[in-house]
């Protein structure tokens, strides 16, 4: 009899526990999957920005101006593009985002007949260092144009996973305490920071040394053909649909730039990327050393610029009022 009882409880207890966790996550919905916001939670604390932004984009009927890039572009306020071009703007800057994420989203929008009129494609040097893509890229069918089966995550995991529970607890804690998170994405995908991060030269220096060693591998890297091909595909797609495409290489703090310059191997790689990119499309090169990247007040860390910089950056690109950015043109264009 005791064995029968054990068997019964063996199934019953996990069922109850798992069921409770699932219901809790469904109610809080930290990834914003469902449209039912029963608890009227204002700020969701999910950490998966790709999922959140893809889900948001699916709900938007028409995007006129689109920012594509990584976390470095998250501080570009989409409202500025609306000011320049009118219509609706959205910032699809996602952690570790690169040209594959950008192409994936554009192909998805093309399939839904929702392509924008203007695109600002921001590219990071570091995202060209290898062919690997962010795991979240694969798990989102809307982005994964490579159709590579990563078996990474399924829809149930949005409500039943350690990440979901962690996000739910953070979300409900913030909701009950009425705390506004330090940063969150607004409806236009722009990262709103209530307590903007600041940095100093010493922190930038430490981070830059680590970055050069660990991210750039001291120049032991190959410029990814696959990522360059993705840029080419984006250029082709924009030509096909008559979209106004603007491409830029994102800035790094002057301290980091100087470290790159000191390392011949790494410097060559950076130049290699710039030349190869220039043969594909004209682009605004913000990865240079100038007074704006020398000013630590424009940075949150060694590579992430802040809102203030972003505004000058866009003005320079579209209106050319504030700062001078080197503009590289392909030989084809020059011809």
């Amino acid at each position: 009899m005791i064995y029968k009882k054990f068997i019964l409880l063996f199934f019953l207890l996990p069922f109850l526990l798992i069921g409770t966790l699932f219901s809790l996550n469904l109610l809080i919905d930290p990834f914003g999957i469902t449209d039912y916001n029963i608890l009227n939670i204002k700020y969701k604390m999910a950490r998966d920005d790709r999922t959140e932004k893809v889900e948001r984009i699916k709900k938007i009927k028409q995007i006129d101006n689109l920012i594509l890039g990584s976390s470095r572009s998250q501080h570009i306020d989409s409202a500025i593009l609306t000011k320049y071009f009118g219509g609706y703007s959205y910032n699809f800057g996602v952690g570790g985002g690169n040209s594959a994420d950008a192409l994936g989203l554009l192909l998805y929008l093309e399939s839904k007949d929702k392509l924008p009129k203007n695109i600002l494609l921001t590219l990071d040097f570091s995202t060209f260092k290898n062919d690997e893509l962010h795991p979240s890229f694969y798990k989102l069918p809307e982005l994964n144009f490579l159709n590579k089966d990563m078996k990474e995550e399924n829809q149930i995991a949005k409500f039943l996973s350690i990440d979901a529970i962690r996000a739910s607890f953070k979300t409900i804690k913030a909701h009950l305490k009425h705390t506004v998170p330090n940063s969150y994405f607004n409806k236009e995908g722009f990262m709103v920071s209530n307590k903007p991060k600041t940095t100093d030269a010493e922190s930038i220096n430490k981070l830059s040394i680590s970055y050069v060693n660990n991210v750039y591998k001291n120049g032991d890297m190959k410029i990814s053909k696959a990522r360059l091909n993705n840029v080419q595909s984006i250029v082709n797609l924009c030509k096909k649909h008559n979209i106004n495409l603007t491409v830029t290489l994102t800035p790094v703090a002057s301290i980091q730039y100087k470290l790159i310059q000191k390392n011949k191997k790494l410097l060559n790689k950076m130049q290699e990327l710039k030349v190869k990119l220039a043969t594909i499309t004209p682009f605004y090169d913000a990865m240079i050393d100038n007074m704006y990247v020398q000013d630590v007040n424009n940075f949150e860390d060694n590579v992430h610029t802040n809102e203030k910089y972003a505004e000058m950056y866009l003005a320079s690109i579209y209106k050319r009022e504030y700062i001078e950015l080197t503009k590289l043109k392909t030989s084809q264009n020059q011809n």
Binding site: I2, Y3, K4, K5, F6, I7, L9, F10, L13, P14, L17, I18, L21, K151, E152, E153, N154, I156, A157, L160, S161, I162, I165, K206, I209, S210, N213, N214, K217, D220
Partner: protein, 485 residues
């Protein structure tokens, strides 16, 4: 079908269990066995149905040969021994064709400077296991230790799904009496409770522990271009624990699933990382493979009956073959050679009669096993050299935070930076490694629970938490390591 998949846990296992006992309840013994064979073949075909004819023909062939070898063998022009050799060579040829063709072609090309194209054959799932199991059956039949006249029984012995894919490698004589026993024809709640508990532990080992270590191990072995000392040790130790928890987790699930059907599979692991000598380690690690190698290779080679030198040669040969069994590559051969050599040294040491303190003996054994797994895991020699180089000659990195707190460290001229960037490790990596070490050294193993299981609140809590954690991590399903062997 994976044990750690929704389709196995929620559909296949319960469905098979209920139908099997329903048929037994209706006194349809052959029907129940036939259903179990059908279900097992379905389980096998789930991956790739193309290999179904292969396992069926292998089964039929060995059944016919095995039957011909039994005591009713009528003397013809062919002797019993010739028939046995024919059977063994046929099995090894099948295994060799699928598993070792490219290895031989590559080496032949290298030696003869020729360029024969590789065959690029996909390795049929479980071929190493069902081939060894059937070779054992042929030898046992030849020795008169077992016999089987019923093909259905034989098919059940080979295909019984809990042990089909990655063992334990079972003997015909230890399995078939269990299926025949009338005590095993009805549901046994003690076995079901024990089986469920052991299955849940195995599932936890695989999903929560092995797959966590897999990330660091694969980053270190496959992706990093170089490793500092902490990264290299984290990489090798991660693999050491990944392999153990993955394979023993699989075995636990196999034992647990088999127990639901009142079948006791032989134990395969007995806390191997507690071993205080390499001989002790091989008595605890993959026990059914060690048993096979001993009974069907080491002893037929002469075992320890033909003098000391011959004993050492036999040990070395057995372990090199054991290495090759795991995979077609020189790294596996070298791994087998190292273990064979260690056993030879172990024997010599015992002969000298010097006893090491247990903790020291354990330390040497564990580190030897850990270091040799590097060759076992590395896809290329260069990867093994990279990890070993990092373990012994890599930079010792200290973090900025540590340097700020203990500034005297700056005198040591150590490199400052992130600890585990190349393996995507964090502060939890070494915490998890120590927790895993604690578990393998001090926790009771599943073998204990297999024989001493008694329902309690503690065990209920363990299984509830295990299942809940697994459910939360189930979104990342991966295959078992031993499926590759």
């Amino acid at each position: 079908m994976l044990f750690n998949s929704y389709e196995f846990i929620f559909f296949f296992l319960p469905f098979t269990f209920f139908i099997y006992f329903y048929l037994l309840n209706k006194r349809l013994l052959s029907g129940a066995k036939g259903f179990l064979v059908f279900a097992s073949l379905f389980f096998y075909s789930w991956w790739n149905i193309a290999y179904l004819p292969l396992i069926l023909s292998s089964m039929l062939f060995n059944y016919v040969v095995g039957n011909s070898l039994n005591e009713n063998f009528k003397k013809t022009k062919v002797t019993k021994k010739t028939l046995l050799i024919f059977g063994i060579i046929s099995n090894i040829s099948l295994l060799g064709y699928f598993k070792y063709s490219d290895f031989f072609i590559e080496n032949f090309n290298l030696l003869s400077d020729s360029s024969i194209s590789l065959l690029h054959l996909a390795l049929p799932l479980a071929i190493s296991f069902f081939t060894f199991q059937q070779i054992a059956y042929l030898v046992d039949s030849y020795r008169g230790e077992t016999k089987e006249y019923d093909f259905l029984n034989y098919a059940l012995f080979v295909t019984f799904f809990p042990q089909l894919i990655a063992g334990p490698i079972v003997h015909h004589a230890e399995m078939m009496p269990q299926f025949a026993s009338r005590w095993n024809l009805a549901k046994n709640y003690k076995n079901i409770a024990t089986g469920l508990f052991i299955f849940s532990i195995g599932l936890f080992k695989k999903v929560a522990i092995a797959d966590t270590f897999a990330v660091w191990a694969s980053n270190g072995f496959d992706h990093a271009s170089s490793l500092n000392m902490l990264e290299a040790w984290a990489t090798s130790l991660s693999y050491t624990f990944q392999l153990y928890f993955d394979f023993s987790g699989y075995t636990d699930m196999a034992i647990g699933a088999a127990l639901l059907f009142n079948i006791r599979l032989p134990i395969n692991f007995n806390s191997p990382y507690k071993a205080a000598s390499i001989q002790d380690f091989w008595r605890r690690w993959h026990i059914t493979l060690s048993r096979f190698l001993k009974d069907y290779i080491y002893i037929p080679l002469g075992g320890n009956r033909k003098g000391t030198v011959r004993t050492y040669n036999n040990l070395l040969a057995t372990f090199i073959l054991g290495g090759i069994w795991h995979g077609a590559g020189w790294t596996f051969v070298f791994w087998g050679f190292l273990h064979g050599m260690a056993l030879v040294i172990n024997h010599m040491w015992k002969f000298l009669g010097i006893k090491l303190p247990t903790v020291f003996a354990w330390f040497i054994t564990f580190n030897f096993v850990n270091i040799t797994w590097v060759f076992f895991r590395a896809k290329e020699w260069d990867d093994a050299v990279k990890v070993l180089n990092g373990m012994f000659f890599g930079d010792f990195i200290i973090s900025h935070k540590l340097l700020e707190k203990a500034q005297f460290l700056s005198l040591l001229n150590l490199k400052v930076g992130a600890w585990l960037p190349n393996i995507s490790g964090d502060q939890f990596t070494y915490t998890f490694l120590f927790m895993a070490l604690f578990l393998v050294l001090f926790a009771k193993n599943s073998t204990y629970y297999m024989y001493h299981f008694y329902p309690s609140k503690k065990l209920l809590l363990i299984s509830t938490l295990s299942i809940t954690v697994v459910a939360l991590m189930f979104n990342k399903i991966s295959e078992f390591l031993y499926f590759n062997f």
